[in-house]
Point group: C2
Chain length 336, copies 2
């Protein structure tokens, strides 16, 4: 079926997003940096390797339990740079504001950006502000782009997973998406679930000394952990096998997902990472991640296998096996 | 008067934009890169100086005589990098698309981005796509960020103008803004005016051999040439004196401006630059600019003076003198 209208799932981080990038953007823009399909592009200048990434945030609501579009925007790009195995240094900010938006709210959002930047030890050094007449944009959108440096002995990429590697998930999944959902208009859940929005750069910095034992880093944002694992399997041409029981999910998040028919595996996270690492270093890397402020629930959830290349298979809670595909369609719009 | 609601002029590139950046963003984000207030930030890593810039495009209409939001988005960031005296290398793209937008139009816009990138010899190496439910954004907005390298003997900045310097304007002003205006719904002008959207990186590349004789480069986009000259005067703490008669304006553009009560000095350009250069090199630099594809109408329009520091004074067509202030308010919304 020819799609002549853009649908929401094209930006949802699942199968349609993947197809759009692979079938339209990569052939058109045609360069080896983009076609690696990592969270950022890595390029070399005079022997120094740089990571460069961009992300636009259209979150609705703009204030939610655990954060705001401001810290989300800084953490998101800081994390994308970190997922290149890089230390983030500089951030740009592109604001698009609806005419009539509250100056006080804008100041709170900007303050949240500053706090997030300080926490990640990055500087916001350039920016642009557009104001659009009422109705042209819903409240405020924020683009951030960022630059970081990749240390010498680090090569992480979605295409680097190798059979035998262990897969570490740095904490509970689904918190961000469910927090966004439960605070939306019309929803009346009384929960204490907060977004997990956080900068992962310190967690990554602490494991970088493991060097080439770190094969893949990926933060499972839109599309969730299920989609991220599929991208790794596809790009690395390996299989991925994991155990449902090992996936950390908060009881309350699991409860709401069950009630609404949502799968936590496809719900966005904003402060979690998946690390695919050499088996001999796995337990030490896990220990380092668990020592991080945002890593206490980290777990080894599975491993990379040479069977069923390009696919992700889950051992279910009741002992069966099922294929976990990429997110198809869009679960929750404007989650980030 | 306390402004508690964001008004259009805050993003209009004139006085309000300048005040917002100076009074809110710079004190909050607090770093020397941002506070230089140039078109991009310049930072040093291992002895190489990089320029980093971002710009979001919310142009309405998205297709207009002479271009589209696609080439506008690439040229805009290429030019901001060039105005740092840098050679642009890599571009990121953040797309925000309204659900239901035409896939065919999206493909045309992406193709325009690719052509503009090829013309400027830059690569689009990383990106992000968000789709927002209908009504959340008007058609399509595009953020681009870019990275370039500043050659060793180049130091251009808005704060570098020196008394005696000559001011070169690279061509006719007002073309972009008037082209946008005349093709908007409800306007029925029969004109042949096209946007001047173009990449200025080759023009800049050709004058970079003049090294430290180039003091300031600025592209007069939102806010127009009048605002850009004011920013230079303010940041350099010098006066600027120019001759109205020397300002190149197309006859048709001047006519429409007169009819609508618009001042070409405040209308956005998307393919012009202002160069402030040492007097002894001015005629050679002008010659180089005139040799460029987009520089044939270039002219020396005035000079930097030690009188009336921080102000811009124009010798009018009838021989009088008047102060040219920054754009106050917003002339044309969603021009870029």
């Amino acid at each position: 079926m020819k799609k002549d209208k853009i649908s929401g799932d094209l930006g949802g981080g699942g199968r349609s997003s993947y197809d759009f990038v692979r079938n339209i953007l990569i052939p058109l823009f045609d360069n080896p940096y983009l076609s690696k399909l990592d969270d950022g592009a890595v390029f070399d200048i005079n022997g120094t390797r740089f990571a460069f990434s961009t992300d636009t945030f259209v979150a609705d609501p703009i204030f939610f339990p655990g954060g705001s579009i401001g810290d989300l925007a800084v953490n998101g790009t800081v994390n994308d740079i970190s997922m290149c195995g890089a230390e983030p240094l500089y951030i740009s900010t592109g604001l698009i504001i609806e005419e009539g938006f509250s100056m006080d709210k804008l100041k709170i959002i900007l303050k949240d950006m500053k706090i997030a930047a300080d926490n990640a030890n990055v500087k916001i050094i350039t920016g642009d502000t557009k104001v659009v007449p009422k109705g042209g944009v819903d409240k405020i959108f924020i683009n951030t782009s960022g630059i970081g440096i990749v240390p010498e002995n680090i090569t992480v990429s979605c295409s680097n997973a190798k059979p035998g590697d262990k897969i570490i998930l740095s904490g509970t999944i689904g918190d961000h998406g469910v927090a966004m959902l439960t605070c939306r208009e019309g929803m009346e859940f009384e929960t204490k679930i907060k977004s997990d929005t956080a900068s992962l750069c310190n967690m990554v910095k602490n494991i970088l000394p493991f060097g080439r034992s770190i094969h893949v880093l990926r933060d499972p944002t839109r599309g969730g952990a299920g989609t991220a694992l599929n991208e790794i399997a596809l790009k690395s041409q390996t299989g991925i096998f994991f155990n449902e029981k090992e996936i950390p999910v908060k009881k309350e998040v699991a409860g709401i997902c069950e009630m609404l028919g949502l799968d936590p595996l496809y719900i966005a996270n904003e402060g979690k990472l998946i690390a695919v690492v050499a088996p001999e270093a796995a337990s030490e890397i896990l220990k380092s991640i668990k020592n991080d402020l945002f890593g206490e629930d980290a777990a080894i959830i599975g491993e990379v296998v040479s069977d069923f290349s390009g696919q992700v298979v889950m051992k279910t809670g009741i002992g069966g096996r099922r294929i976990v595909d990429m997110l198809s369609g869009e679960q929750l719009p404007r989650i980030c």
